[in-house]
Amino acid sequence: MVKIKNLFAAMALSTVVATSAMAAEDTIKIGVLHSLSGTMAISETSLKDTLLMLVNEQNKKGGVLGKKIEPVVVDPASNWPLFAEKTRELLQKEKVSAIFGCWTSVSRKSVLPVVEELNGILFYPVQYEGEESSKNVFYTGAAPNQQAIPAVDYLLKQGVKRWALVGTDYVYPRTANKILEAYLKSKGFSDKDIIVSYTPFGHSDWQSIVSDIKKFGSTGVKTAVISTINGDANVPFYKELANQGVSAKDIPVIAFSVGEEELAGIDTKPLVGHLAAWNYFESVDSEVNDEFVDKWHKFIGNESRVTNDPMEATYIGFNMWVKAVEKAGTTDSDAVQDALIGVAVPNLSGGIATMMPNHHITKPVLIGEIQDDGQFLIVDSTKGTVVGDAWSDYLPGSKDLISDWRKPMKCGNYNVKLGKCGGSADKK
C-alpha cells in the first residue's frame, strides 16, 4: 500500500516538474483579470470567454514567437481591493507578460499602482471617463471624445434643446457629465436647459426620476436624456420609461453603457428608437464582423449569445499585443510597451485601429437605435476614426495637458502652457 502511494506521489511530482518546466520554456503567459462572480460577473464573464477564444485561435496559428500562449484566469469577484491583489499575484507569481482585464473605473484605479510598481502591461477594454494616462496601461475602450461628445453632436443635429443627464453615482458618470455639461455650455445652453441626477448602484425605483424627465421633456421643447446609468440599474430604468409611456420619438434616451448584452435581459419592443453610442455594434456590416460573430457562437456553443463593444476592444487589444510582441521579438515589458505605440490592427467594423502615443487607440464612433430584436440599427457614424484623447479639452484642469509616451517626452500629463511634465494637480 505504502509503495503504491509513493509511486503515485512520484508520478504526480514528475508531472508537476514536467509541466512547470514546459511552462517556463514553451509558453507565454497572459493574465485574465475579469470578475466571474459578484455584481460585475454579468458583464465581465463574456470578456473572459472572448479572451479564451482569441488565445485558442492564436495558438492554432502557432502562438506568438513560436510559443503557445497560456491564459491564467483569476477571479477578482467584483471586489475592488481583490483586483489589486490578483494583479500582484499575476505579475509576481505567475510572471504574466500582459494582463487583460478590469471593467469598472474603480477596479482600474485599484490595479493602477500595482501595474506601475511592477512595470506590467494592462489592456483596459471598456469606455471610460479619461483624465488618466499611465505608462503601463493601454486603453482600448473609448475616451469621452470617442463616445460622449459625438453622441451629443448627433442629438444637436436632431434639434435637441434640453438635456437630462442621468447617471449612476461613481467616477465615470460624474466625470463624463462634467465634460458634457462644459461642452453643452460651450454650445450656448444654460443651466435651465440641463438637469443632472445621480442614483446609487443598482437603483431600482425610477418612478420619480422618469416622471421628472417626462415633465422636463413634455413642455414643447425637444428633450433628450443622456444616460450613464451602469449595469443592472438600466433594466428597471427602461421598464419604467416604457410604463410611463416615454417613447423614443418624444424623449430619446442615449446611453453610453447599454449594449447588446444589457438588452438581452429586457423586452425591447417598447424601447425601439432609444439610442446608444459605441464604437462597435454586433449589427455592423462587415466581413470581419460576420466571421467574428460566427466564431463566437461556435466557441460559446450558443447561437443567441451576443457580441458587444468591450468584446471588440478586447479583440483589438489582444491582437495589438500579439503584433507588438512579434515586433519587439521579446516579451520584455519595456520593449513591448515601446513596440505597442504605432501598432495597427483591423477592428471589427472594417477599419484599422492604431495605438497612439497617448496609449489610446483610434476608433470610429457609431450611433445606434435599439430594435425590437435587441440589436442596434446604426443611424449615424463618424466619417473616419477618432483619436482617443486622454485629457478632455472641455475641463479647466486638463485642457492644457497632453500625453505622449514616446521618447524623449515619455510623459502622461505634459502641460503645454507650463512646458513641463506633471503639470496637473491630479498627478498620474
Binding site: 454579468i42 416604457a242 435581459g265
Partner: protein, 536 residues
C-alpha cells in the same frame, strides 16, 4: 344638405390637389415607393418619400404609413415590393396579396427617430381626415397634435374643423386647440392673443414652455400679462398634481418594501432568525416566473398568474429545507445563524449562476401590466405599480388572516411568545418552526414575483433588497405585521418626498440617518412586541 356635402367634397379634393402642387418635390408616388423599398436610401431620402406619399391620393398610403410607424413595413429583396406585417402574415401594400416567397427575402424597412416622429404626425393627420373612423379616435389624434403643427398645417386642419363643427362639436373644439397652438407662433400679436384665449381653457402641460416664453419675450405687453396668468395657473396645477404623484410613487415604493419585508417579519420578527438568505428566496420567486414563462411561451400573462402559487411553493419548500437542515440546529445562536444563512445566500446565488448563467433573464411584462391609466395630462397611474399595490394589500391581509384565525397562526403566536409553555400545551414546536419558516419564505417568493415585473431577474436581485427589508422590519418593530406595513409605507413615502428635493443619493442617506436616530430613541421600533418572552 346633400349639395353642401358635395361642395365640401369638391373643396377637399381641391385642397389636396393644391397641397400636391405646392410641394416642390419632383418625386412621383411610384418613385417614392421605390425609394422606401430600396435598402440603400438614406434616411433623409426616405423621409422625403414618406412626405410625398402622404400627399398623394393613393389608396394604400394610410396603411403604409401606419405600418412604417409601427415598424411593420418590410421590403422584398427580390422585387422591391413593400409588405405589411399583420397577424403573422405579410400583405403586399398595393395588392393586399399574402407574400408567398421565403421569409428571409423580406427585410424590415429601416427608419430612424426623425422619420418615426414625422410618420406619427402624418398618421395623426390621416386619422383626422378619415371620416370613417370613430370620433373618439379622431379626437385623440387632435389631442396628440396640440403644439406640434406649423401654421401651414393649421390651415389644412381649419378645413376639417369647419366641415365637422356641426356633426362633431367635440372634435371641432379639439381642433381649435391644435390650430390655436400653431397660431401662438404667428407674427400678429392679435392672433397670438386670440390663440391664448382659446388655449386658456385647455389644461395641459404641453404648452407651459411656450406660455413662459410669451410671458417673457412677447412684443405686446397685454399678451405678456395674459400669458403670465395662464403660465401661473398651469404651473400651480402642475405642482399640485406632482404632489399627488409623489404620494402615489411613495405608496408604490412602500408596497414593494412591505412585500419584500413582510416575509422577513415572520422569520426574523416572530421566530427570531436572522435570515440573510431572505433576498435569495425572493430571487427564487422571480426565477420561478421566468421558468413558468419559458414553459408557457405564448401566454406570459397566464404564466405570471400561475407563478404566484408556484413561487410560494418553491420558495416555501426551499425555506423548509433550509430550516430543517441548518437553522434548527442554531436556534438561540443569532450570530451563527447569521453566518450560516449568509453562506446559504451565497450558495443559492452561485447555484442560480450555474443553472441560469450570470446574465439577467428576460421576464416578459404581460399586456395588462404595461402602460398607464391617464387621469389627466398632468397625472397618470402606471398599471404595473397599481397592481403591485393591490397585490401587496392582498398578501398583507391574507397573512394577517392566517396569523389571527388559523390554527397555524395561533401556534405560531404561542411559540413566539413562550416556547416552553407552548410545548407544554401540546404544540409541536418543531413542526411549527418549519411551517412558519416555510410561510415566511413562501411570502418572499411572492415578493419575487412582484419584483420580476419591476427590476432585473438575475443572481443579484436578492442582495439589492435585503438591507431595505431588514430596515423596514427593525423600524416597524419586529414580529408585528402592522408595524411592517406602517414602516414600509412611511419609508417609501419619505424616500419619494426627499428624492426630488435632495436627489436619490442624499435622500437615501437622510432616510438612513432618520431611522438610526429613531432606533436609538425607540430600540423596539414603531410597534414593539409585547409578551412574556419578549426580553429574550
Amino acid at each position: 344638405m346633400i349639395l353642401i356635402k358635395v361642395i365640401y367634397k369638391a373643396l377637399f379634393t381641391l385642397s389636396l390637389f393644391l397641397m400636391l402642387s405646392s410641394s416642390a418635390f419632383a418625386l412621383t408616388s411610384d418613385e417614392a415607393y421605390a425609394v422606401i423599398s430600396n435598402k440603400q436610401s438614406s434616411f433623409d431620402a426616405k423621409l422625403e418619400a414618406f412626405y410625398t406619399l402622404s400627399d398623394s391620393s393613393e389608396k394604400y398610403v394610410p396603411v403604409l404609413i401606419d405600418a412604417a410607424k409601427n415598424s411593420n413595413l418590410y421590403y422584398s429583396r427580390k422585387d422591391s415590393e413593400l409588405y405589411v406585417l399583420a397577424n403573422g402574415n405579410y400583405f403586399n401594400v398595393k395588392t393586399s396579396k399574402v407574400f408567398s416567397g421565403k421569409k428571409r427575402d423580406l427585410k424590415r424597412v429601416a427608419i430612424n427617430n426623425q422619420i418615426r416622429e414625422s410618420l406619427a404626425l402624418l398618421s395623426e393627420m390621416k386619422t383626422l381626415e378619415d371620416k370613417t373612423l370613430s370620433e373618439d379616435a379622431r379626437i385623440e389624434s387632435a389631442h396628440n397634435l396640440i403644439g406640434k403643427v406649423s401654421i401651414s398645417d393649421a390651415s389644412r386642419l381649419q378645413f376639417i374643423r369647419d366641415t365637422s363643427i356641426s356633426d362633431f362639436p367635440e372634435l371641432a373644439e379639439n381642433l381649435d386647440y391644435v390650430i390655436a397652438s400653431a397660431d401662438l407662433n404667428s407674427q400678429e400679436p392679435k392672433i397670438r392673443n386670440g390663440a391664448m384665449r382659446i388655449l386658456a381653457n385647455l389644461n395641459s402641460p404641453i404648452l407651459i414652455q411656450k406660455f413662459e416664453d410669451i410671458a417673457k419675450n412677447d412684443s405686446d405687453i397685454s399678451n405678456r400679462v395674459y400669458a403670465e396668468k395662464i403660465y401661473k395657473n398651469l404651473s400651480s396645477t402642475q405642482s399640485f398634481y406632482s404632489g399627488v404623484e409623489t404620494l402615489y410613487f411613495g405608496i408604490s415604493l412602500g408596497s414593494v418594501l412591505v412585500l419584500a419585508a413582510i416575509g422577513l417579519t415572520i422569520t426574523f420578527g416572530v421566530m427570531g432568525v436572522i435570515n440573510m438568505a431572505h433576498g435569495e428566496l425572493m430571487m427564487i420567486g422571480a426565477y420561478t416566473v421566468y421558468v413558468m414563462q419559458q414553459a408557457l411561451p405564448n401566454n406570459p400573462g397566464l404564466a405570471l398568474l400561475l407563478s404566484i402559487p408556484m413561487a410560494f411553493l418553491v420558495s416555501g419548500l426551499t425555506g423548509i429545507i433550509i430550516e430543517r437542515t441548518v437553522i434548527r440546529y442554531l436556534y438561540g445562536r443569532p450570530l451563527e445563524t447569521l453566518l450560516a444563512t449568509f453562506g446559504i445566500s451565497l450558495l443559492l446565488q452561485q447555484g442560480v449562476r450555474t443553472i441560469f448563467t450570470a446574465l439577467n433573464k428576460n421576464v416578459v411584462i404581460p399586456d395588462f401590466l404595461s402602460g398607464a391609466i391617464k387621469i389627466n395630462d398632468f397625472f397618470s397611474i402606471t398599471y404595473s405599480r397599481f397592481y403591485i399595490i393591490i397585490f401587496c394589500l392582498a398578501v398583507f391581509f391574507a397573512l394577517r388572516h392566517i396569523l389571527k384565525h388559523s390554527r397555524l397562526g395561533l401556534e405560531v403566536r404561542a411559540v413566539s411568545q413562550n416556547r416552553a409553555m407552548a410545548r407544554n400545551m401540546g404544540v409541536r414546536s418543531e413542526r411549527v418552526n418549519a411551517l412558519t419558516f416555510g410561510l415566511g419564505s413562501g411570502i418572499a417568493g411572492l415578493a419575487g414575483v412582484a419584483l420580476s415585473q419591476l427590476t432585473n431577474v438575475g443572481p443579484n436581485l436578492g442582495q439589492n433588497y435585503i438591507v431595505d427589508s431588514f430596515l423596514v422590519v427593525v423600524f416597524g418593530g419586529s414580529g408585528n405585521i402592522w408595524g411592517t406595513m406602517v414602516a414600509g409605507m412611511t419609508l417609501g413615502i419619505a424616500n419619494k418626498v426627499l428624492e426630488p428635493v435632495a436627489g436619490a443619493m442624499l435622500g437615501k442617506i437622510l432616510i438612513l440617518i432618520g431611522v438610526i436616530i429613531f432606533i436609538q430613541r425607540r430600540p423596539r421600533g414603531l410597534f414593539p412586541q409585547r409578551g412574556r418572552n419578549v426580553e429574550d
